[in-house]
Structures are given as C-alpha cells and as structure tokens.
C-alpha cells in the first residue's frame, strides 16, 4: 500500500466540510444535547446514560465516516478518476484495500472527540480497560461498515451513493438504537434493532460499562464484515471480467 497516497487521501477527506459536519460535528453536538437532557440518569440495568450516549454517538459518527468513505468509490468512478488510477502502478485490489483503511482512519476523529467530551464535560468515569473498549473497541467494530461502504461504492452511481449514504445513516442510526436507546423500546422493536449491525456496534462499546453483549456483537459484526468483503470482492472480479 502506498502510504503517501493514503495520507493525501486522508487530508482530502478530513478537510471536506460536509464530512466534518455530518460525521464529527453532528454526533458531538447531539451528544451534548442528549447529555443535557438525560446525562444524570441511568438505565434499569444500571448503565449510566452518559456513557451509553457517548458510545452511541461516537459509534454513529465513526460508522458514518466509514460508510461514506467507502461509498466514495462510486463518485471516483463517476468522475473517471478510477481510469486515471488504473494508469498508475497501484493495483485494483490495493485501491480497494486502501479505501477500506482510509474509511477506518477517518472514523477516528468522531470517536476521539465524543469520547473526549464524555470524559471532560460528560462526567464519564472509566478505568483504562473500559476506555480502551469504548474507543479502540468501538473503532474496530466499525470495520464491517468500512467494508460495506467499499462494497456498495462499487455498485452505486454517484447520485445514488449520496442518497444511499444519507438513508443508510438514518436507518442504521435509528434502527440500531443510536438515536434512542434500545433499553426503553418494546420487545418486538428490540428484535428489529438486533438485526442491524449498528445495534451490535453500540453493544460492543456498552460492554465496557456492563450494558452490552460483546461476544455476540463481535460474532455478528465479524459475519457482516466477511459478507461485505465477499460482496466487494465478487463485484470487483465481475468488473474485471467485463473489461
């Protein structure tokens, strides 16, 4: 992998104002608002709401960053940039892998900012291992979304990628229990929520403060990651065969 290219791409993503607003600014602001409303409460199982909100919003931001970055492939194809890249020594596989790594990298700021806010203004007190889980753990749990973005990015058109990105964020945020907590919804809705990968992303983070099933989360997210990688690979091979 070409590290210099990866860094240049990272810079391009991180200075995009749309990206900054929707995947870093919005989760941070939502976190502060929710914190003001529910920050001093706890769920029935004893999980403090502040920690749960922190995990939800950092996970939401990182998930959005990862998904949208992978889906950027559709835009680059639309611009004809992929043809230009094919006239460089970088192979198509390396391009896809670099994109997935980029998607993971740009998820870090949201987790860093929201977790920092949680520690400084949210009154979230955790030990080192717990902090590791809500930061690095959540970050690693974003991997299936990065791969999902790479898979979808190969199918989507530039226009549909924009719309699908926004729609997916909405659906995964809502149905994954990031916008309102699964702890308070009826049982049938909880089952729907548990079908989404975003529910399990949150669960991995929450396991640090006692409210999430990390083992199941890792298994479900792992399965999503494998499935997304297979779809992405299959699509790429089909594209090669067509050329």
């Amino acid at each position: 992998m070409n590290v210099r290219y990866l860094l240049l791409e990272t810079k391009v993503v991180l200075r995009n104002s749309r990206f900054l607003v929707f995947t870093i600014g919005l989760p941070a602001v939502l976190f502060l608002i929710y914190l003001g409303l529910f920050g001093d409460q706890s769920f029935a199982d004893g999980t403090p709401a502040a920690a749960a909100l922190m995990v939800s919003m950092s996970g939401y931001g990182a998930m959005g960053a990862a998904l949208n970055t992978g889906m950027g492939i559709a835009l680059e194809r639309g611009y004809g940039w992929l043809r230009q890249l094919r006239l460089t020594p970088m192979s198509g596989w390396t391009y896809l892998i670099t994109k997935a790594v980029l998607a993971m990298l740009v998820g870090i700021p949201a987790i860093g900012l929201v977790s920092g806010l949680g520690a400084v203004v949210g009154g979230v007190h955790l030990d080192a291992r717990q902090w590791l889980t809500v930061t690095v753990g959540v970050w690693l749990a974003v991997l299936p979304f990065a791969l999902l973005g790479v898979a979808i990015g190969q199918y989507a058109t530039p226009d549909s990628a924009q719309t699908m990105g926004a729609a997916l964020m909405m659906v995964l945020g809502l149905a994954g229990g990031m916008w309102f907590p699964p702890e308070i919804v009826p049982a049938w809705m909880l089952h729907v929520m548990q079908a989404t990968p975003s529910y399990w992303l949150r669960a991995v983070g929450l396991s640090a403060v006692g409210g999430g099933d990390a083992a199941t989360g890792v298994a479900v997210l792992g399965a999503w990651a494998v499935a997304a990688a297979l779809v992405a690979t299959r699509r790429y091979r089909a594209d090669l065969a067509r050329a």
């Binding site: 835009l75 004809g80 230009q84 094919r86 006239l87 460089t88 020594p89």
Partner: protein, 309 residues
Amino acid sequence: MTNTLAPPAVARGAAVHIAGLVKHYGPVRAVDGVDLVIAPGEVVALLGPNGAGKSTTVDLLLGLITPDAGQVTIFGRTPREAVVAGAVGAMLQSGALRDNLTVAETVGEIAALHHRSGRLAEILAKADVADFARQKCSKLSGGQKQRVRFALALVSEPDLLLLDEPTVGMDVEVRRRFWASMRDYTVGGRTVIFATHYLDEAQEFADRVVFLRHGKVVADGGIAEIRAAASGRTVGVTVPGVTAAELAALPGVDTVDVREDRASLRCHDSDAALRAIFDRYRQAHDVEVTAAGLEEAFLTLTADEEPRP
C-alpha cells in the same frame, strides 16, 4: 490470443506492436483486426470518424480493457507492465478529475502512486498548470482541465504518450500552446500516439497518420504519402496547341480537363507528368501543382461505400 508467433525483428524494438487486435461489444466489432508497428520516436495520429475504434484502440493499448483476440506489446512488455514501469502515460478523453481536489492535490496523488512526489513542482511547471495549482478542479475552464490531464500523463516521464482527443474543448490559443509543450516533450525522441478529429492537427503535428474505419486500419503512412495515395496531385499548365488525348497519354496522368489552352491534369505521379510535359512541349508555361488537402484524402478514404444503419 490468436497470434502466438513472435513479433518480427523490427517489432521487437518497437515502441508499440499490435497484432491481430480484436475487441467487440456485443455485435459491434469496435476493433476488428488491427495490426500496427510504431517505432520509437514516431508521432502518430489516429484519425477516423466517430465509432471508428480510436478510443477502444487507446484503451487496449493502455490495458484498460482486454482484447478478445490479438496482442499488444509496448516496448516489448504487456500494457499493464508498461504502465507499472511508468513507460506509458495517457491523457484520457473524459473526466478523470475530481471536483473537490485542487490541481496540486490531483497531480500529487498520481505522483505519489508513481513514487515521483519529489518531482511535483517540476511536473506542474512543465504542463503549464503551476499558475492555478491551488485551485479546485471544479473551478477550471475546459482548457485548464485538459492541461491538468496532460500533467497527469507526464508524471512518470513516459517514453510513450497516448492522447485521446487531447485538444477537445480548447480554444485556438490554448491549443497552440498545448502542441508547443507537446513538441518540447517529444524532442528527446519520445513516442506519441494521439487520436483526433482535427485534420489540421494530424497534418501539422504527426509524422504518420493511421486512418481507422469500422475498427480497421484503412490507410497508414506519412502525411504526404496518404495525401498522394488518396488523390494524387493536380497539375495546372497552359500548353498552346495540344489536345486532351495527347496529354492523357503522358506518364503519371490519370485524367485531363482542357479549357482553351489551359489544362488541368489529375496525376498519380505529377513529377513524371511534368518531366514529360517540359520535354515534349517547350511552349508549356504557368505551371501550378496542388496537393489535395488532408481533409479531401480523409473523406475519400473514410467515406462509407454503403450507408450504415
């Protein structure tokens, strides 16, 4: 691959060697059996009407698409190997630029991938884009975008440049400057292949013209050769007291049109015809030799025998 024979001796040292190349899209044979050997240092124009197979040929040369039959070698390597080695650069016809990147970022990314980041400033200067290097690609004019694409093609300092309709969207002045920077680039003996619609560009810039029609090479030669092959030359001469039949019998002459004493001779070999005229008719005067324009040659060569559906 239908062609498993080793390329002939001349082709082994060739910049480009194409043998039996075929590519079809469904029933359309976009490239239909093209053979071509291009020597290092040649500047070749690929000329032909829309749908002649120019862009498909360029894509095959770059390895962007795989042929259904035949083979392409560039400096003895496969197209992909040549790209990886940086031996071939290309200006693609469409798009290729991302709106949200600046010119310097665009060229910088491609330079990074070629491991040429250290040469970025030099490339920007060479392609004449340094003035607007900090602008977003979305803010550029059509001509500026073409220059950025040219910069991308130059990044690896390729020995072979492929240009697909390079001056589309450029105004006259920008076009002139573009060809000037291209000339600078080829001074060191680099090879250039460009696809174009502009006959005057082929005429002015190419050493050699390859006409494509319906995916086949219908003519291939130097500019002068092509012109002559298509329509020869027209000799105008005043020869008092000579009949059309006498003139028609002269060597090199095809047809004759005489009005008063002024004859107009369509010749496939105007040199032979003129020698004979001055030998035999001392009174001949006011000689005028005109070559048919490339446009005429082009139209003759690429006109369809039958209307296409």
